[in-house]
C-alpha cells in the first residue's frame, strides 16, 4: 500500500443509513481508489427458517425480509407457489395485487428522494419527501389496516378486499400526493445545485449494467430497457397503459429522474386499476400443493425480486431461495464509486437505493491505516462542496 493511501471506515453504525453495514473506502487524497463492503449485520437466515414454515406462514415471513418491500416479497413468493400448483388467481385479486404493488412503489421512491436529499446534506428535501409519503401510508392503513407489513397477500389471491367506500378516499389522497410530487419534482429536478452535484457523478455504463445484471431503476437509468412488469407480465400490467421510463446517462441524476417519473406512472396505474377493477371473488382457496419447483418474479421498487421454491409435496418447502434486487445492484458500486471524490461517495452508494435487510437476508479497521474520517466528516465535506458549487453558480 503506497504511503498516500488512507482508509476511511464507515460504519457499521453511522448516521447516514438506518441499516448497519461497514464500508471501507480506500482513498488517495480526495479520490476513491478502492472500496470494499462487509455486510451480514442484517442476516437472519430467513431461507433456513422458511424451510420449517408452512406455505401459508412463509408469506408472513417473507413480508418481514424488508419493510419497504412488504408487498413485493409476498407476491413473488405466492407466484412461485402458484407456479408449482398451477393455481389461477381471480381477476379482482390480480387488480388488488397490482394496486398494492404500485402504492408500495410510490412510497418507496418518495422515501428514496427524501434520503437522497439527506445524503446530500439537503435536509429540506428529506423532510419534504418523508412528509409527502404520508398520504400513501394513510391509504395503506385504510385498505390493509397497517402502515407497513400489510399482510395483504396469500397464495391464490389476497386476504382483504378494497371496499367501494374506500375508493374515493384513495383517489383524494392520491391527488394530494401528486400535487406535492409536482412541487417536489420542480424543486429537485430544476435545482442548479442538484444538477451540479448529481450530473455526471457515479456513472454506470450500459455495458457494466448488463454485465452486473443490474435491475430496476439502476439499470433503467443506464439505458437498459428492462422492467419485469412488462417483460414477465403478472398482475394486470399487460392490460393497462403505462410507460417504462429509461434514461441514457447512467449517473445519479438519471436515477433520480427515473424514480421521480416512475411515480407518475404508478399513480396512473393505480387510477386505471381502481377504474377497471371487476367484482368477484378475491381468493381461489387452493388446498393442495404438488411436488415440483416454481419461480416467481416481480418488479419491486428497486428492481426484480426473485423467489425460487422447491417442494417435495409436503407442507413446507425443501428450498426457498430469495434474491432481492439490491443483491444484484449492490456490487455495481465498485464500477461507479472508484475514481470519484469522497464527498460524492455517499450519494453514489445511495443512488442504487440499497436495502441491506433485503440483501442479507465494513469496523475494526487495521490500525496501520491512518487518517480516519468519520461519516460525519463526509457529510461536512459534502456540504462544503455544495456551498462551493453554489458560490460558483452564483447562488440564487
Amino acid at each position: 500500500m503506497s504511503n498516500n493511501r488512507s482508509t476511511i471506515p464507515i460504519g457499521p453504525y453511522h448516521p447516514l443509513q438506518e441499516e448497519p453495514e461497514f464500508w471501507k473506502l480506500i482513498v488517495e487524497g480526495e479520490k476513491v481508489v478502492d472500496v470494499d463492503v462487509r455486510i451480514g449485520y442484517n442476516h437472519r437466515g430467513i431461507e433456513k427458517i422458511s424451510e420449517s414454515k408452512s406455505f401459508d406462514q412463509s408469506l408472513f415471513l417473507v413480508e418481514r425480509i424488508c419493510g419497504i418491500c412488504s408487498s413485493s416479497h409476498p407476491i413473488a413468493c405466492a407466484q412461485a407457489i402458484e407456479d408449482i400448483t398451477g393455481t389461477e388467481v381471480p381477476e379482482r385479486a390480480l387488480y388488488i395485487r397490482t394496486i398494492s404493488q404500485e402504492l408500495e412503489r410510490l412510497h418507496s421512491h418518495m422515501l428514496w428522494v427524501g434520503l437522497a436529499g439527506h445524503f446530500l446534506g439537503y435536509n429540506t428535501v428529506f423532510m419534504w419527501g418523508w412528509k409527502y409519503r404520508e398520504p400513501i401510508c394513510d391509504i395503506m392503513e385504510t385498505v390493509t389496516g397497517n402502515r407497513q407489513n400489510y399482510a395483504m397477500h396469500k397464495v391464490g389471491g389476497v386476504r382483504r378486499d378494497i371496499e367501494k367506500e374506500h375508493i374515493p378516499y384513495i383517489l383524494t389522497r392520491l391527488d394530494e400526493f401528486l400535487k406535492h410530487l409536482d412541487m417536489l419534482k420542480g424543486a429537485v429536478l430544476d435545482d442548479p445545485v442538484l444538477h451540479a452535484r448529481l450530473k455526471g457523478v457515479g456513472v454506470l455504463t450500459k455495458e457494466a449494467a448488463l454485465d452486473y445484471s443490474a435491475l430496476g431503476p439502476t439499470a433503467r437509468a443506464s439505458d437498459v430497457n428492462i422492467d419485469v412488469r412488462r417483460d414477465h407480465p403478472y398482475g394486470v400490467y399487460d392490460r393497462l397503459k403505462w410507460n417504462v421510463i429509461t434514461q441514457k446517462e447512467g449517473d445519479v441524476f438519471a436515477k433520480a429522474v427515473v424514480r421521480i417519473l416512475e411515480m407518475y406512472e404508478s399513480a396512473s396505474i393505480i387510477r386505471q386499476c381502481l377504474d377497471k377493477m371487476p367484482d368477484g371473488p378475491i381468493d381461489s382457496k387452493p388446498k393442495d400443493i404438488s411436488q415440483g419447483e416454481g419461480i416467481g418474479v416481480i418488479e419491486a421498487p428497486r428492481g426484480e425480486c426473485f423467489h425460487y421454491i422447491k417442494c417435495d409435496g409436503t407442507n413446507s418447502p425443501v428450498r426457498h431461495k430469495i434474491r432481492a434486487p439490491t443483491y444484484m445492484n449492490f456490487p455495481t458500486f465498485r464500477e461507479t464509486v472508484i475514481g470519484e471524490t469522497v464527498s460524492d461517495a455517499t450519494i453514489i452508494m445511495a443512488a442504487i437505493d440499497p436495502c441491506y435487510c433485503c440483501t442479507e437476508r465494513m469496523t475494526v479497521v487495521d490500525h496501520k491505516d491512518k487518517e480516519l474520517l468519520k461519516a460525519q466528516d463526509l457529510i461536512r465535506l459534502s456540504q462544503e462542496k455544495t456551498r462551493k458549487i453554489k458560490e460558483e453558480l452564483g447562488a440564487r
Binding site: 453504525y13 453511522h14 442484517n42 437472519r44 437466515g45 418481514r64 436495502c355
Partner: protein, 145 residues
C-alpha cells in the same frame, strides 16, 4: 427533581441501532421525527454518535455479528443512559427466534428500560413510549438514576 433528571428529560438525544431489523421499524422511527409526527418539536433528535446519546433505540433481532457491537455501544453510552427496544423482533426476536443467526433477545444482551411492541410500532406508540420514559425518569422509578 434534581438537576440530572431535569437535564436528561429536557431534550432527549437518541442514537438509533438497527441490529438486524427489516427496516420497517427504522422507517417508522424516522417517520416519528419528520414533519407529520414531528418528535423534534419536543427536542428529541437523532444523533450521529453514541457518545452524544441519552437513549439507545434498538430495533431488530440482534444477530450474531451485531451482538458484540451492541455491547460495545452500550458501554460507550454516557451514563445515565437508557435503552429502548423497538418492535417485536427487538422485544422477543419475534419470527426469527428459530434462526441460526439470532442468539438471544436484546434484553438478555443489554439492560433494557422500555419496550415498544408492534410490527412495526406506530409513530404514536413511539411518542407514548418516550412520554412514559420521561415520567419514569422524573419520578425516579428508573433504577439507573
Amino acid at each position: 427533581m434534581g438537576l440530572k433528571e431535569a437535564v436528561l428529560t429536557r431534550s432527549i438525544n437518541v442514537f438509533h441501532v438497527s441490529s438486524g431489523s427489516c427496516n420497517n421499524c427504522d422507517i417508522e422511527i424516522l417517520d416519528a421525527l419528520t414533519p407529520r409526527f414531528d418528535l423534534e418539536r419536543f427536542g428529541v433528535t437523532l444523533v450521529g454518535s453514541i457518545k452524544h446519546a441519552d437513549v439507545m433505540l434498538c430495533t431488530g433481532s440482534a444477530n450474531r455479528q451485531t451482538v458484540p457491537i451492541i455491547k460495545n455501544l452500550y458501554e460507550q453510552m454516557p451514563k445515565p443512559g437508557f435503552v429502548i427496544v423497538y418492535g417485536a423482533c427487538g422485544c422477543s426476536r419475534g419470527l426469527f427466534k428459530d434462526s441460526y443467526n439470532t442468539l438471544a433477545p436484546l434484553d438478555e444482551i443489554i439492560p433494557v428500560d422500555a419496550y415498544i411492541p408492534g410490527c412495526p410500532p406506530k409513530p404514536e406508540a413511539t411518542i407514548a413510549a418516550l412520554v412514559k420514559l420521561i415520567g419514569k425518569i422524573k419520578t425516579k422509578k428508573a433504577e439507573k438514576i
